[in-house]
Each structure stands twice: as structure tokens, then as C-alpha cells.
């Protein structure tokens, strides 16, 4: 089971955090700080795996990947495969975010906070990998986007109408 997905930049600022088992905010912050502490001390050209038991408790592994200014981190237990998790990050970043934003960068993730969450919800549900076809993920996200765009357009009118009425 996947325990958490985190995105943070190279200065250690959290950009996205999704914990699949609930943790209080303070705990999440602490975990992210500690993860960053380990990440930034890693030399170049080493493996993408970290023994995470000291941070996340027994039976936990951590896989990270570094893209430009961002670290993508996945924490999971022994029922997942490290290399596969590495590819999951790849899938998220290069096959999905890249398609969504074209040349995805840190700011895209910050500004499209809720969209990234939507994408993640499509890929991982309840800590299990649910969908790995990027076309399918894209389709689902597009569908929602279209719908939202539509409701957005509609919601302007009733909104203003109702505010007119209430005056």
C-alpha cells in the first residue's frame, strides 16, 4: 500500500502532500521536513531508494525522483515494488503532468493545486495504484475540466442573478 505522495522543492518547501492514512498537520509537516533532510543530504548519482523506517516506522520504503527544482516522493510498504513506484513517479510527471501543462514546472504545480490532486486521485485510490494508462488519466481529468469550465460559465449567471434578486 502507498502511504503518502509528496512533492517538495529543492529548498524543502512542500508543494503537495497526500497522505493516504490520516495524519495530523503537524505530523505531516514534521515528516516532510525529515524527508527533505534526508533527500538533500543524498549525493548525486545514487539510488532513488531510501530506507525510511526511521521516519515512517516499520515496513516503510521511500522512493524519490528529482525533476528540475522538485522532489517527487512516494512512501509505501513491502507490498509494492520499488522500481514500479519509481515508474509511477515517472508516469505522474512525464506522462501526465507533462501532457497537462507542457513543460511542467514548479509553478504549474503550485498554481494548479487542486488539479494535481484530481490527477493523483485518478492514479492512486485508497493507497492502491488504480490506473496507469496515461491516456485514461488524461481523459478523466479533461472530462472534469470540461465540466467545470461549463459549470463555471453557467454559475456566473445564476450567481449574478441571485445576487440581483437578493438586492
Amino acid at each position: 500500500m502507498i502511504k503518502a505522495v509528496m512533492v517538495m522543492n529543492t529548498q524543502g518547501k512542500p508543494r503537495l502532500a497526500k497522505f493516504f492514512d490520516f495524519l495530523p498537520v503537524e505530523k505531516q509537516q514534521e515528516l516532510m521536513r525529515r524527508v527533505f533532510g534526508v533527500l538533500c543530504s543524498r549525493p548525486e548519482n545514487v539510488s532513488n531508494f531510501i530506507e525510511a523506517e526511521s521516519i515512517f516506522g516499520p515496513d516503510s520504503r521511500l522512493v524519490y525522483n528529482h525533476f528540475a527544482t522538485l522532489y517527487f516522493v512516494v512512501v509505501f510498504d513491502s507490498s509494492e515494488n520499488e522500481l514500479a513506484m519509481l515508474d509511477l513517479i515517472q508516469l505522474l510527471v512525464q506522462q501526465t503532468l507533462e501532457r497537462c501543462f507542457k513543460n511542467v514546472c514548479e509553478l504549474d504545480i503550485v498554481f494548479n493545486y487542486s488539479k494535481i490532486h484530481t490527477i493523483l486521485d485518478e492514479i492512486i485510490l485508497g493507497g492502491q495504484v488504480l490506473e496507469t494508462r496515461s491516456t485514461e488519466i488524461m481523459r478523466a481529468v479533461e472530462e472534469i475540466s470540461k465540466l467545470e469550465a461549463a459549470t463555471n460559465a453557467i454559475s456566473f449567471i445564476p450567481k449574478s442573478a441571485s445576487s440581483w434578486l437578493s438586492r
Binding site: 539510488s47 531510501i50 520499488e82 522500481l83 514500479a84 498554481f111
Partner: protein
């Protein structure tokens, strides 16, 4: 840039993000965020906020909370948003609540109804959103509220919904297996879903189910194999390909499931060989995901019933991993190697160089994985290299968690495979020196015990060599400036026990060192306590050896300091030291017998040795004791107190000081007869002992207690220590209090028996050797010479192993004679009581004659009787000691206690013998009485030369 895809965000939010991004310090960031929170608080509670705005505020709140600030004021608004009709707003609401709330939050109850409604929606997107929320927010209690709808959704026309419904059910299973146990068949059904995505999702819950109960799913092996075959043959739609691999995540899950199902099941495994072999061949090892599948294949092969061909393919794949330049692949290779060497240990040989390369690698993760591998392949031939490496690495790292782990692994390996005592002590010293504060205190206790007991091999000289080398190395190490507390405790204890044992160092030298320790670590009371007790032992040994004791001046000043210490524990130790020094050699020797830390202490909680005293008091007109429960008016209070006592741990302020004596009175004083007026004086002496044993350092106090409590034991032949007080049993049998004693006897014998069995079991385990050794032996064929090492025996023999060892000899003897099994008696046991063994031999014969009277007695009884005679011959000295200080027994607490420690054995021992005999012969009363008679006569047969009077008393 932000609004692609219609996820609208205002300029305000962009500005916020920007300004946070540009913040120079954490303080500045906090300031910005706090002002943002103020803004949001104000705006969000405005009555007529447009939904579009509201949605953005909520997103901003989520963002703020991710940065670590409290956004709880907005939770209720997020909940409200989930009620909205428009999908856009609803989605945001659900997203926010899944991030904000945990499943036990109070607000969840407000959402359950909405979720129920949304699960019925016609719009599948709404259903999907609701299912997302279900996975995160539904707890055990609310599962029934949505369960029927989830089950309905399993047949939804949209595969995305079916998939998520399965995930929701899986989540329920994780949270409360019983809630969905009747729905497990649905998972099997969905395995045949038309959509491969749904099938793939079903594998997740099935994996969990199979992990918990393999046997119920054996019938699915064929299905899984055929699915895997189809996937591997690219029968799935092209869309499932990822980096030219067909549905890799499904393959991985399936391989994991097959590994579980084929484990230890030849028949099931045989079905898998073909498909796994195919995958090995087809897998593209140039892509990351291809290697992920290969790795999973190796795991599967090493888990299922072994197949030589597959093992070969696996070994090939591993060597490719290890030769790769990628650290990731090396890591996987090392991990896979660790799995495969369990089945084919020889493959480790060919990768030696690669493994050593990984050990030198700058990558910490890889290094640790390699240490894990080494740990798995340690044997007696390579233990020195591996443990040295591990210790070097341990010293080099700062991560306490990992340091602790590696330290405990070093200790474990050293205990198991140590080639020599010298090496063992040195290794332990290094571990303690560098990770002393991190290792479990049990490790320290284990080390002390090991030094005290020796390795149980060869003869005593090896043990004493071990001790002297330990003493020597500790004296050297004491020169180091700062040592961990735990290590100092070990050092003090060993110096106290064995510092002067080999005569190499003078008492004044050792005591000087101990005083230095106590002074240098003056703020560590535990260490000081250890030091004082060690001093006491050294002086006691000196006195017992008949040498003059002159305390060093620094020792004097230390004692003065401790006598006035704030710590009652230290004070007590100091007073005890003073008292011991004032005694004569004979008494001291019995209080502090040398090298007796492994001896057993039996405690008679019924205090039956006081019976005579009580009888006397009653005859003089004292009131008999009324048990607390029978006292009118006291009942409620005592109940209250009992409750108090249970709760004591959770409350800060309790009047424990008043409670303790009460408790001990209840526990220790037999309800038979004790004047209520004596209630106070009796518990008084008991109390300090209680606290003494429980305070601060369990090991010190119990150790000190052991040496003290043992005081009457030393004259006894130690091997048969328990049987010592045989005579007094017969007295109690002959007195009117038969029933009471009978009960205690039964208890005593039961515990003794069960313990005997227990230790026998543990010994057996040692002989079979714990898992690790078995592994090592089967892997590398090399006979590990540690099989019989006591260290491993301890590990397998659970908590009270301190006692166990001292039992072991006895039990092994008894067992040996009982089963005539070839259990070899460790040689060092024999010299425990050599003199008495001789005296036993002649007295055995007359007893054999008695046995003849008793019908077919088994060997057990003979063994027991044998021991009892041994005890009898020797017991007089002890009793002599006891009677020698009769005055003290009435005045001094410690003496009463010594009696306490003394006579309990009486009963236990007596009980053991009689009960065992009774059990074996299962005779009617007549025979019982005959036996008793025989026993009494037996004692008459071997009258003590030292103190015949005592026997006269006992036997009437």
C-alpha cells in the same frame, strides 16, 4: 499560466503563492500566511460569498494547511460545499474534506448523508467523487451506512466506477475485515470482469486476503496463472502497455500473489513454472519497469517451491542487476540476492566482489541493504569480518535509529557466532562504547549474565578466562573520558563480581577504580548504585577470605555522601555496605557468596516460616489475623484502594506511600493467623524490600537482592539448592497446619515442574538451534560450533532467563535421568557442588532400599530422592547459620528478610519432592504415609554432623 484546463484561480491566490515563494525566511513566510488566514477567516464567514469565490477560498485554505498552519476554522465550510449541487463546487468540497478531516472527525457525520445521496447520482463523475471520499472518510461505524450502495456499484456500467467501488470495499476490508467478510465472493467475481482495469484493481484486495489466508484461495492459482499468461502474451489492449511492457503493474501484482500461493506448495508451484519462465525470457531488461517485473519474478521464484531452471534464470537476472551501473538495480540485486541465498546459498560466492563494491559505495541506502545481506549470510567463519565492518559503519553514522539496529545486530551475531571469548568481549565493548546509550538495556543484562555464566562449554577455566579478560579490558576502558551509562553499569557489575576473583588485582585497586567511576559520573544515580554495590561485593569477598579490610579514604567520603543522599536507593545501599563491613567473615560469606549471581532465589509469598512465631504470639494471647476482606468497614476502602492502585499509573498525584505496605501485607501474610496488632510491624520490614527491588535499576537491585537473599544458600550444594530445606517440610507435614502447607506445596511443585519443563524446552531449542543458525547451517553447510552456546539459549528462553540458566543444570539432570536421553550435562555445573556429590553417593544406597518398599518407582522419583538426600546431607550448615544469629532475626529487618528468603525454599522444595513422588506413584494414602515415613527415616539415616539439634527440633 494557471488556468489551463479550467481550474480557475484568482490573481489574489497567484500573488499569495508568489509572495510565499519569494519569502526569504520562515518567519516572513509565516507572517504572510497568517495574514492570509486572517483574510480568509473574514471573507469565508461573510454571508453572501459567491460559490466561485468560496471554492477558491477553500483551495487557499488547503494550501495554507499544507504549509503547516491551522485551518480548522474553515472545515465546516468545506463540509457545506460537499452539499452543493454543482459538481465543480462539490468536487472542491470533497477534495478539501478528504485532506482536512480524518475518519473520526466530528464533522464526518454531516457528510455521510451527502455521500449516500451522491453514490446514487446519475452522473458517474459525482459517483466517482463520492467514492474517493468514501475511501478516505468512512470509518468502521459508518461502513454499514454506505455498504449496500457500494455493492450495487460493483455492477455499474462504467468501469471507472466499478474500479473505485472495489477499492472502496478493499478499504473497508482494511479498516474492519468483519464488516465485509460476507462480500469477499464479490472480489472473486470481479476478477472475471470484462475490463482489465477492474480486474487489475481486484488484485489489490485479493492480495491482502491471500496474505491473511492462503489456503482459501488455492483454487484461484489456475486463474491467476492464466491471467498472467494472457497479460504476458499481450492479449490486453494496447493502452495498457507501458514502456512497451504489457500492463506491468498487473503483472507485478499477479507475481506477488503467485509467490504467496506457491510458497511451500509444490503442486501449486508447478502450475506457475511455465509462465514465470516465459516472463523471465520475455522481459525487457533495458527499461526500468521491465526490471521491476524481473525483480518480482526473482521474488516469486525464491518464494515458491524451488525449480532448478527458474533458479538459474533468477541467478542470471541477479548478476545482471549487480553488474549494472544503476544504483537502483544494484539495490534490487542485493535485495534479490538476499532472498535467493536462502534457497541456493552457493550463488552468493560468485557475487562476492559485487557485494563488496556495494559495501564501499557512497550510497547509504545501498550500503545498508548490503549490510542486511551480510547479516543474513553470517556464519562462524566470517563473523569477525562482518561484525567488524558493521561496527565501523555504526561508528561512522549519525542516524540513531539505524545505529541502534546495527548495534543490536552486532550483538546478536557476536552472541551467536563468537569465535573466542576474547573477541566477544572486545566486540561488545566496542558496541557499548559507541552505541551504549542506544542499545537496549537487556543487551547489557545479557552480557552480564553471559560473563557470569560463561559459555557453558568445556571447563571452568574458560569461564574464568573470559571473566579475567573482561575485567582487564574494562579496567583499560575506564580510562576513556566519557562512557555510556549502560556500559558503566556493566563494568561496575563485572568489577564487583570478578574484579578480584583471579587475584591479579588487589581489592584496593579495584575499589579505587570504582570510587573514581562513582565520582566521575556523579549525576548518574544508576551508575553510582552499581558502583556502591560493587564496592560492597569486593569488601565482602575480602572479609570472607579472611583479609583485613581498610577502606580507602575516597571510599569513606563517598559513603558519607551516599549515606546522606537524596536517593533512598543509594542511601540504602550505603547503609547496607556499612552493615556488611561490620560483620564477621562467616556471616559475610553467606550474605555475599562469591560468583553466585546465577543462583536461584525462591520466594515464599505465604511467609509460612513465620508460622511458629505466630503460633507463639497467639498462645501468648495475641489476636489472630483477620484478612482484610473479612474486616467490617474496611471493605470499601480496600476496594477503593485497589482501584486507586490500578489507576495510579495514569494519575500524577497518588498516595502510593500508604498503599504499598497494605498490598504487601495482603500478598505475603497468610490468612491463617496473625494478630491484627502486628499488622504494622510486620509489613514495615517488608516494605523497604519491596521498594528496593522495584526502584530504579531492576538489575542492580535484583542482583543485590539475589546476593543478599541467597545468604543462607552458600553452604548448600548449589546444584540441588532447591531441595535444601527438606527437613522443615516434614515438620510442617507433621504439624496441624497440614492443609495450608499442602497448598503451598502444590504450588511449589507445580512451578518447579513447569519450570523444569520450560527450561528443558528451551534447551531443546538450543540444540535444534534458532532459526538463524539453522539457516546458516543449511545455507553454508559449515557446522556452526555455537549450537550449544548458552547465549543463544538465553535468547530463546524468554524473560526470566536470569533464573533459567541456574535451573538448566538441574532440569537437565532430572531430565537426563527421567528420559535417559543423551542430554549432556554442561560440565561446569558439576563443579558447583563437588564436595557434596561425594557425600551423596553413599547415602543413596540405603535410600534405594526404601524405594523397593515403595513399589515400582520411576526414575524420576529416584532422581528427586537422590537430590533430596544430597540436600539433607548439606542442609544443616545453613540451618546452623540461621540459628547462629537468632537475635538478629528479631531485631533487624534484613534478617527477617533473609529468613524470608530462606524458608520459602523450605516449602517449595519439600513440596517438590513429595509431590513428585506422589505424582509418579499415584498411590493411595497408605503409600503416601509410607513415603513420608520413609523420608523422615531417610533424614534420620543421614544425621548432620554439624547440628543435630536442629533436626531434633524439626522432627520432634
Amino acid at each position: 499560466m494557471g488556468s489551463q484546463g479550467g481550474f480557475y484561480q484568482s490573481k489574489e491566490f497567484l500573488d499569495l503563492v508568489k509572495s510565499i515563494g519569494e519569502a526569504r525566511s520562515k518567519a516572513e513566510e509565516d507572517r504572510i500566511v497568517l495574514s492570509e488566514i486572517e483574510t480568509l477567516k473574514r471573507r469565508i464567514s461573510e454571508p453572501d460569498t459567491p460559490k466561485r469565490k468560496m471554492k477558491e477560498y477553500i483551495i487557499r485554505l488547503v494550501y495554507v494547511e499544507m504549509l503547516g498552519h491551522d485551518a480548522s476554522f474553515g472545515y465546516i465550510h468545506a463540509v457545506k460545499m460537499t452539499h452543493d449541487d454543482t459538481l465543480l463546487v462539490k468536487r472542491t468540497g470533497y477534495l478539501a474534506v478528504t485532506l482536512f478531516l480524518n475518519e473520526d472527525h466530528d464533522l464526518i457525520i454531516l457528510i455521510v448523508n451527502t455521500i449516500q445521496k451522491d453514490l446514487k447520482s446519475d452522473n458517474y463523475l459525482v459517483v466517482c467523487v463520492a467514492l474517493n471520499a468514501v475511501c478516505k472518510l468512512i470509518n468502521e461505524e459508518t461502513i454499514p451506512a454506505v455498504l449496500p450502495q457500494i455493492v450495487e456499484l460493483l455492477a455499474h456500467p462504467k468501469e471507472a466506477v466499478r474500479k473505485k467501488a472495489i477499492m472502496a470495499l478493499h478499504r473497508f476490508y482494511q479498516k474492519s475485515p468483519s464488516s465485509v467478510s460476507h462480500l469477499v465472493s464479490n472480489f472473486r467475481k470481479r476478477l472475471c470482469d470484462n475490463d482489465p482495469g477492474v480486474m487489475g484493481a481486484t488484485l489489490c484486495p485479493l492480495f491482502d486476503l491471500i496474505t491473511n489466508d492462503v489456503n482459501s484461495y488455492k483454487d484461484l492459482v489456475i486463474s491467476f496463472v492464466s491471467i498472467l499468461k494472457q497479460v504476458a502474451e499481450r492479449r490486453l489492449p494496447k493502452a495498457y502497455d507501458y514502456h512497451q511492457m504489457p500492463a506491468p503493474f498487473i503483472q507485478i501484482k499477479l507475481l506477488k500473489i503467485l509467490a504467496l500461493l506457491g510458497s511451500g506448495d509444490k503442486q501449486a508451484s508447478e502450475n506457475m513454472y511455465t509462465v514465470v519462465g516465459d516472463i523471465f525470457r520475455k522481459c525487457d531488461s533495458s527499461s526500468n519497469i521491465g526490471n521491476a517485473i524481473l525483480y518480482e519474478c526473482i521474488c516469486c521464484v525464491s518464494s515458491i517451491y524451488p525449480n532448478p531452471k527458474l533458479l538459474e534464470s533468477a541467478a542470471d537476472a541477479i548478476s545482471r542487476f549487480l553488474k549494472s551501473d544503476s544504483h537502483n538495480l544494484k539495490y534490487m540485486g542485493i535485495d534479490a540476492l538476499g532472498r535467493l541465498i536462502k534457497i541456493s546459498p552457493e550463488i552468493a560466492e560468485q557475487h562476492q566482489l559485487a557485494v563488496i563494491d556495494c559495501l564501499e559505495d557512497p550510497d547509504d541506502t545501498l550500503k545498508r541493504k548490503t549490510f542486511e545481506l551480510l547479516y543474513k549470510m553470517t556464519k562462524s567463519t566470517n563473523v569477525e569480518v562482518i561484525v567488524d565492518r558493521m561496527i565501523d559503519y555504526m561508528i561512522s553514522i549519525n542516524d540513531n535509529h539505524y545505529k541502534t539496529e546495527i548495534a543490536s545486530r552486532c550483538v546478536e551475531l557476536a552472541e551467536q557466532f563468537a569465535p573466542s571469548n576474547q573477541w566477544f568481549i572486545q566486540t561488545m565493548n566496542k558496541v557499548f562504547e559507541h552505541a551504549g546509550d542506544l542499545v537496549n538495556i537487556k543487551v547489557a543484562h545479557n552480557l552480564m549474565r553471559l560473563i557470569a555464566e560463561g559459555f557453558g562449554e568445556d571447563d571452568n577455566t574458560a569461564d574464568s578466562q573470559l571473566r579475567s579478560s573482561a575485567v582487564e579490558s574494562y579496567l583499560y576502558i575506564l580510562g576513556e573520558p566519557k562512557l555510556p551509562s549502560v556500559f558503566l553499569q556493566v563494568i561496575c557489575w563485572v568489577l564487583g563480581e570478578y574484579g578480584t576473583a583471579d587475584g591479579k588485582y588487589s581489592a584496593s585497586y579495584i575499589t579505587g577504580k570504582l570510587c573514581d567511576v562513582a565520582e566521575a559520573y556523579s549525576n548518574d544515580e544508576t551508575v553510582k548504585a552499581y558502583a556502591v554495590t560493587a564496592l560492597m561485593k569486593i569488601y565482602a569477598f575480602e572479609i570472607a577470605a579472611g583479609r583485613m579490610v581498610d577502606m580507602l579514604p575516597e571510599c569513606h567520603s563517598l559513603m558519607e555522601e551516599f549515606l546522606a543522599s537524596h536517593s533512598t536507593d543509594l542511601q540504602q545501599r550505603a547503609y547496607e555496605l556499612q552493615a556488611v563491613i561490620g560483620l564477621d567473615a562467616h556471616a559475610v560469606e553467606s550474605i555475599m557468596p562469591s560468583d553466585a549471581s546465577c543462583e536461584d532465589i525462591e520466594v515464599d509469598k505465604a511467609l509460612s516460616f513465620l508460622n511458629g512465631y505466630i503460633q507463639e504470639s497467639i498462645e501468648k494471647g495475641a489476636q489472630p489475623y483477620i484478612p482484610e476482606s473479612e474486616r467490617s468497614g474496611m471493605l470499601n476502602i480496600s476496594n477503593f484502594r485497589n482501584q486507586d492502585h490500578h489507576e495510579a499509573s495514569s494519575h500524577g498525584l497518588r498516595f502510593e506511600a500508604y498503599e504499598l505496605p497494605k498490598q504487601t501485607v495482603q500478598a505475603r501474610i497468610p490468612p491463617a493467623s496473625l494478630a491484627s496488632t502486628e499488622l504494622v510491624p510486620v509489613p514495615e520490614p517488608v516494605y523497604p524490600r519491596e521498594s528496593y527491588q522495584t526502584t530504579t535499576v531492576p538489575s542492580v537491585s535484583s542482583d543485590a537482592a539475589s546476593t543478599e537473599l541467597k545468604l543462607r544458600l552458600d553452604g548448600v550444594q548449589k546444584k540441588w539448592g532447591r531441595q535444601t530445606h527438606f527437613p522443615s517440610t516434614s515438620t510442617s507435614n507433621s504439624t496441624s497446619q497440614k492443609t495450608v502447607n499442602g497448598i503451598t506445596q502444590v504450588d511449589g511443585s507445580n512451578t518447579a515442574n513447569s519450570r523444569t519443563r520450560e527450561t528443558y524446552d528451551s534447551r531443546k531449542q538450543v540444540e535444534i538451534s534458532p532459526e538463524k543458525q539453522k539457516l546458516a547451517a543449511s545455507l553454508f553447510g559449515g557446522p556452526s560450533k555455537t549450537e550449544k552456546k548458552s547465549a543463544t539459549g538465553h535468547k530463546s528462553s524468554k524473560p526470566s532467563s536470569h533464573m533459567v540458566k541456574s535451573h538448566a543444570p538441574k532440569s537437565s539432570m532430572e531430565v537426563a535421568s527421567e528420559k535417559t536421553s543423551p542430554v549432556q550435562q554442561p560440565p561446569d555445573l558439576l563443579d558447583f557442588g563437588e564436595p557434596t556429590v561425594k557425600s551423596t553417593a553413599p547415602s543413596l544406597d540405603p535410600f534405594k532400599d526404601l524405594e523397593g518398599l515403595l513399589e515400582p518407582t520411576t526414575q524420576v522419583s529416584s532422581a528427586v530422592n537422590h537430590s533430596s538426600t544430597a540436600a539433607v546431607t548439606k542442609s544443616p550448615d545453613i540451618m546452623g547459620l540461621y540459628t547462629e544469629t537468632p537475635a538478629g532475626a528479631h531485631h533487624k529487618d534484613s534478617d527477617i528478610l533473609s529468613g524470608l528468603s530462606n524458608s520459602p525454599m523450605t516449602n517449595m522444595v519439600g513440596g517438590t519432592t513429595t509431590m513428585q513422588v506422589a505424582q509418579t506413584s499415584k498411590s493411595p494414602n497408605l503409600k503416601d504415609s509410607l513415603e513420608k515415613d520413609a523420608l523422615v527415616r531417610q533424614m534420620g539415616v543421614t544425621p548432620s554432623s554439624q547440628n543435630p539439634n536442629l533436626f531434633k527440633d524439626l522432627l520432634g
